[in-house]
Amino acid sequence: MTIANTPQTWDEFMEGVWKQNPTFVMILGMCPTLAVTVSAVNAISMGISTALVLIASCGLVSMMRNVTPKEVRIAVYIVIIATFVTAVDYAIQAISLALYDALGAFIQLIVVNCIILGRAEAHAAKNPPMPAMINAAGMGAGFTIGLLSLGVVREILGAGTLFGIGLFGAGFQPWVIMVLPPGGFFVLGAWLLFFAWLERRKLRKAIPLAEAAQHV
């Protein structure tokens, strides 16, 4: 890779993390985001699993993009994604049965995570393998960050621990609703509110500057 390529690669990567963050910007992959983020460990595991499937699938789709007729492309993408999800499923079973049990059916549900199919169709099918995989890695990182932001909040409030380590004393009354389904909805809604507020603040700051620029 030449030096000129490096900023482009970084941009490719960061696009998935920030500007097109799957969780907060594109609102994709909601099912696992709300279901498995009851603890930070589960959140990270799901994020890494999805990222691996993303990278591998986009890589293979990209490698095959010139021999894939457009009529069968969705079928091809789905089969490829399902293959890597099956592989990751077995890998997690081999690593830790406890983790496998905690993540449950949502490992296999990675197959229908709209992020992966969307990326394959929008990006991997039109780009060579390396950029496709870097972009996929960025998306995966963005997704993991989204998951983590929910997992951390829900675990701290709902169980008083972080990554299993107790934070507060024994007298802490956990906010149990946070680790139940309604809590997932509320926490994600709160995050989106927070980001909307940040956007608005940025816009407000930009207006006086723009006006000042006009008067110059």
């Binding site: 099912c31 789905i78 099956t86 709160a190 608005r200």
Partner: protein, 192 residues
């Protein structure tokens, strides 16, 4: 598992509602629940696909288990679901073009609806027999439709209310969903 068909149905519909308790089918739930007119047909179409998927998954599972090919389960389920959706699309296009156009892009998106694959996976994991599987998928689809319709009704009302624009959009839908989910928790234990 010795749950009765009635228990399974009531559970899937209310206490363990697919959307509000099991977090399946959230993308269409947040996307299509803006208007009641599109929410209900979407729910019905999804329920139909879930029934077909459940039926096929049951058969596939028997076949795969007989040949010790369990590792092909996921791939075969998703392929059968994608095919079922294609089938439903063709049927709708022929017999109800208006509905086909109304659902638009959301119809092929049923393929990536976690609720459909979720039905197949859960009924396999819980080792339901044929009747239990059918009842489970019907209850799940009905629950999905119920949640969609409830959400759409509330959101339609809210368009006329004074919601702070900071909260408009998905944040509002999520808060609403949280309240709905909270209320559905009251159904716990219903149906035994």
């Amino acid at each position: 598992m010795s749950e009765s068909a009635f228990q399974i149905f009531v559970n899937a519909l209310l206490a363990n509602n697919f959307v509000l308790a099991m977090f399946l089918g959230l993308c269409p739930f947040l996307g299509v629940s803006g208007k009641l007119d599109t929410a209900f047909p979407m729910g019905v179409a999804t329920t139909f696909v879930m029934l077909v998927a459940s039926l096929c998954a049951y058969g596939l599972n028997l076949l795969l288990s007989a040949f010790h090919l369990e590792f092909l389960r996921l791939i075969s389920y998703i392929v059968i679901i994608a095919s079922s959706v294609q089938l439903v699309e063709m049927v709708l296009k022929k017999y109800s073009p208006a509905l086909f156009r109304a659902l638009g892009i959301y119809l092929p998106l049923i393929t990536t609806n976690c609720a459909v694959l979720g039905v197949a996976l859960f009924q396999t994991a819980r080792e339901y027999d044929f009747v239990q599987s059918m009842v489970f998928s019907f209850g799940g689809g009905a629950g999905f439709t119920l949640a969609l319709v409830l959400m759409a009704s509330v959101r339609e009302r809210l368009t006329l209310s004074n919601v702070p624009d900071l909260a408009q959009g998905t944040a509002l839908s999520l808060m609403l969903a949280g309240i709905l989910s909270l209320s559905f928790m009251g159904f716990a234990g219903l149906g035994g």
